[in-house]
Subunit: 672 residues, 2 copies
């Protein structure tokens, strides 16, 4: 539905159709909805029932109905639509762009501002060496198979998954085969080329649609490749994640933080993955916004200074143990308790799980449809200490929207190895103490005589020798033998006198450590998509009355202003209140169309505007206007001069609607 | 300075240097400034004298001093620094990131919110056809020459410019040669390959540094190229500007706006240009943030409904006439007067010039160093009606920070031609009128019989025929002759009866038009860089007292909180006020280091924090604290409970410092 072509004319010259043909085009406009009618009968109740017990057909119908509204109201637009679109790319239209901005700003306030994180912004274009160090050049792949006749590309794991699901759904499958298929399905994500090929052979899997044979699976790197500069010899990639920009800046950020641990840095920006065959619509796109945090701390002390503020927060936790249990169901547990019981590895990881949960509530996700799932042992990278995904339930199932991982010293070590710049922090002892210390003092004069311009290179290499190697060198030099040292492939002969190696007792105030990294990483677009699903409902089973129950803080437009009729004496105060709201930083729009007030309310509900201000003759006479709340449709009568402040407090979630109802007299509702 | 390598160790294994070598590394840290000493003697006065009368050496010294502070305080970081950096890429560090966010948000409020623009967000990865339509694939080039011996790449125009400048500066140059060189220098930017080659031959220009011969100039496309999807057959580019994303969405945006003109759409996002040899530091980068507006209006009515609100705004205008005059100096003129005199082509363009000027003032640019320069006739594209650059003066000279162009119907026409989707608006007449109308009615049954699956293609082509061709076809068909119609290279024979062409009088309510586009386009990074230059000063000639006079609305941190001494009874109220400021959405930091209050003020001045709150024993006793304003260094005594609101109003620029001084008692300043 999202990538169909909308080519309506084939002439190569500029065409100016007659009004008639324009009418034709407008009624065939892709954004004009097909009539609302069954099967789009989704009430709030139906929405709730999507939580697992309804069939996948129902879920798809729900999703289609919602996407239909979203595309018609321009929350999103398939990118490059007039050229037929390109799979995996979507634009945000005006309300989508606004709500995404608000969600991102809420994230920035909730994490960066409240936690005093160091925010950075790095380019998306990244030279190969950075992504070689991080492992993406070698290992950021999906396995691809091609249709051997027409060359179509498919993701091998998707085909195997699809086939296994068919086997499982088939009532004729024997119980032994069923059990095997279930076990295999759970592991498809981790299969390599060889195992995927075995699956394709075993089940005789063919290319979808054509039924042709498939090539053996081969790895396809998901990064978009490009070339930097005019010579064409510097390969670059579009970053597949924003995290590396933080790691390569670790030294400067540590310095900025007064050389103290712990501290957290964050980056919000776009990342790119050249998916083989994007499906799942807005959930799997090729260009997407990430918000990533890297919290650097002492590997021996992962306590968090603000942990007590979050210890009682109790999200649904789906631990390894619960996943292996018979019931396979997440349970609510305070993160403090989870740390105490050793379920979550440490305070800092648990702190971010709690904060992430609070963020989910702030943006309006349903708390019963948000869970934190611990990675199973075999899912985790070898270096990871512990890892939890924030999963949100939507019509596609439980979707990973954030990942929270204790990645130990992996990333900083990888960049230290590749760049030769030590990414270390100094861990001060509580009191200085006496320690036996290895000291390597190059004799720069002697080195200079021997190695000329390379002397400094050699000196650096000597200074940074591992202890064992240095002691072996010391022994040889003391025996008056020369030692060969290899630096960057060049061999240098070190003679006695060129370097002094000693071990001596010294007062030492601390030692260098590679900090551990705890990484909460968010997919902004996925969170936003889930907010849409959790917010969408229709009133009282009436499919013409669609509504998004967006939290006021992220709603794209905070208030719509309706003159009851389009008359100058009503339009004037409407324009005044609009200007006052704009001055207060509240996005708003005036609807002066001649539709009935009920129809106009319905229109504003459809883009989830939380508040409506209706200007009537009472406004002219008494200087008051009606303020309506979207979900309850309740109305109060508020003096015009007080409306901006009331709406500002509501939008900042400093007061609730019931506070407003207590403060102002109720107004009987209009016919909607 | 910005791209040097900082490799400090050459071992390939993880190294854990001894504390001694860590000390060595920290004191050699690239962010530790080299000692402040002459020639960095730049007072505020010196800054002002940069406006044209100082030598380029002075300007460079000023810039070096400022960049030194900016790099040390992590406003920016050369990207991928631990790998030696890549020319043309910079990261924003914490204060840089924050000020950029604030500037962008100010832009969004000033333009999008206040003008109710439709904001969109489109991908940077763009399929080739979109940029083929826009002309970028064929024409977005710079001319490159290579060193014929070592292959180094250079921009031909830069080499020619550099050489001409040397000729001009040489006292031995004859007055005839001087005059010729000046004329040529003014035109280098417009020279093609042939003329650049003539210059290189005429002046015997060689490769810089090596002195080798140069290849003939050849075009180099500045777009980063990549490939979309796994097949490798869909070429994509990183967008060189954000505007195209708006143009391709024109139909949907018009529909969203109720099919009415005028309306404006906007996009803020990153664009990419693979510069041949980036120089001018932060001003010419390969990845940068743009904020672009496309205002669509009736080509016959470029009035602006809010023009009267801006008519008296009087920026420096540097019209074509003034540029051709003897004095060559911009003059202040109200934009209303400029439209009246025909200097600015229309109200809408002038409206955006006025609004852009107000934006420049809001972010703290010096009004005397902002001018609007009209493009000369030969600079303008053939389709442009009028074009003005917003230029800001800095140490590099007058730098283009925004461009405001009336691009007529060019862009929409180009995409209509390429996509075959008519990008039109309906221009309603004030009253319906009778008009002779061409109507082409394909006989779908007959076409279906003859052309089967292609019938619809043929019908569309017939419906959209130009009037002349349709009338010629009509004549032939009426003479019972068949007509050949070519659609997408295929020839179809149309027989009589397959289509009816008629001209009849009809009541017509309007006609389709291609809207005109007025495009204000901003370079966020360039504006930000100029803000830095206009804000940087040192106090009273003391080079140790560097300050950025950022406007409170864009300052990266709004307030620093200083406990006079680090004692629990002072640290506690400091933490309380910090929490209160955070809750009010004001970014802040606490400085509890043991440095003197004067040193701590100096540190906060260096990153341009506009306000400081000092907690002393008066806070404990009387519940008041000192609030200090950065530039005047004046202090007042404010009750703790009132500080968040006071700072919030100051930061939102609702009140000024003098209002605060009037409200609260002055406090004698600390020794700084």
């Amino acid at each position: 539905m999202l990538n169909t072509q909308h080519i309506q004319s084939l002439s190569h010259t500029v065409v100016t159709p007659s009004p008639l043909s324009l009418c034709y085009q407008l009624t065939n406009h892709p954004n004009v909805p097909f009539p609302f009618s069954p099967p789009y009968t989704h009430t709030l109740k139906a929405l709730e029932s999507v939580t697992g017990k309804t069939s996948s057909a129902n879920k798809e119908a729900f999703r289609t109905a919602m996407l239909n509204v979203m595309e018609r109201r321009l929350f999103f637009i398939p990118s490059f639509k007039i050229y037929g679109g390109v799979a995996g790319f979507y634009d945000y239209g005006p309300p989508g762009c606004s709500i995404k901005q608000n969600l991102t700003q809420t994230w920035r306030n909730h994490f960066i501002l409240e936690e005093s994180m160091l925010e950075v912004e790095c380019p998306a274009v990244t030279p190969e060496i950075v992504l070689k160090a991080s492992g993406h050049v070698d290992r950021f792949v999906d396995y691809m198979v091609t249709d051997i006749k027409n060359g179509d590309c498919h993701r091998a794991d998707h085909l195997v998954e699809g086939h296994l699901e068919t086997v499982i759904d088939d009532p004729k499958t024997s119980s032994a085969d069923l059990s095997e298929a279930r076990d295999l399905l759970a592991r498809v994500g981790e299969m390599g080329a060889k195992e995927l090929e075995e699956m394709i052979t075993k089940y005789g899997i063919k290319a979808p649609e054509t039924g042709h044979d498939l090539s053996p699976p081969f790895p396809f790197n998901l990064m978009f490749k490009t070339s930097i500069g005019p010579r064409g010899d510097l390969t670059g990639y579009l970053r597949p994640e924003t995290a590396q920009g933080i790691f390569v800046n670790f030294r400067d950020l540590l310095f900025y933080n007064g050389s103290r641990l712990p501290f957290a840095a964050a980056q919000i920006g776009n990342s790119y993955r050249n998916e083989i065959a994007p499906r799942a619509g807005l959930l799997r796109v090729r260009e997407f916004t990430q918000a990533e945090i890297e919290h650097f701390c002492n590997p021996n002390d992962k306590s968090h200074p603000k942990f007590s503020t979050i210890a009682d927060v109790a999200p649904l936790l789906y631990s390894q143990e619960l996943q292996m249990s018979e019931e396979k169901k997440a349970q609510r547990m305070a993160v403090g308790e989870a740390v105490g019981k050793g379920i979550i590895a440490n305070e800092t990881l648990a702190y971010f799980i709690g904060r992430t949960y609070l963020f989910c509530l702030k943006i309006g996700l349903n708390p019963d449809r948000v869970r934190f799932r611990q990675h199973l042992k075999h899912e985790m990278a070898h270096y990871a200490e512990d890892c939890w995904d924030c999963e949100v339930e939507c019509s596609y199932g439980w979707v990973e929207c954030a990942g929270l991982a204790d990645r130990s010293a992996y990333d900083l070590t990888a960049h230290t190895n590749m760049s030769k710049v030590p990414l270390l922090a100094f861990d001060a002892y509580p009191e200085p103490r006496m320690e036996e210390v290895l000291t390597i003092v190059p004799n720069k004069r002697e080195l200079g005589k021997e190695f000329k311009r390379e002397a400094n290179t050699v000196a650096c290499a000597l200074e940074n020798m591992e202890e064992d190697a240095a002691m072996a060198m010391k022994a040889k030099l003391e025996a008056n033998e020369a030692v060969e040292v290899t630096v960057e492939g060049n061999v240098y002969t070190i003679a006695p006198g060129m370097v002094e190696v000693k071990k001596e007792m010294k007062k030492v105030s601390g030692k260098n450590i590679v900090p551990a990294v705890i990484e909460p990483s968010f997919g902004i677009g996925r969170l936003l998509y889930c907010v849409f699903e959790h917010s969408y409902y229709v009133r009282d089973g009436d499919d013409n009355r669609v509504c998004f129950s967006f939290s006021p803080v992220i709603a794209p437009i905070k208030a719509t202003i309706f003159p009851l009729m389009s008359k100058p004496e009503l339009n004037r105060p409407a324009a005044d209140i609009a200007a006052a709201l704009t001055a207060a930083g509240l996005s708003n729009q005036i609807d002066t169309t001649s539709a009935s007030i009920g129809k106009r309310y319905a229109r504003t509900d459809e883009i989830g505007v939380p508040f409506a201000v209706t200007i009537d003759y009472g406004t002219v006479e008494a200087g008051t206007a009606t303020v309506r709340e979207r979900d309850s449709m309740a109305q109060v009568r508020v003096p015009m001069s007080e409306i901006p402040e009331v709406l500002k407090e509501l939008t900042a979630m400093k007061i609730e609607w019931k506070d407003v109802q207590a403060r102002y007299p109720a107004q009987a509702g209009q016919v909607e």
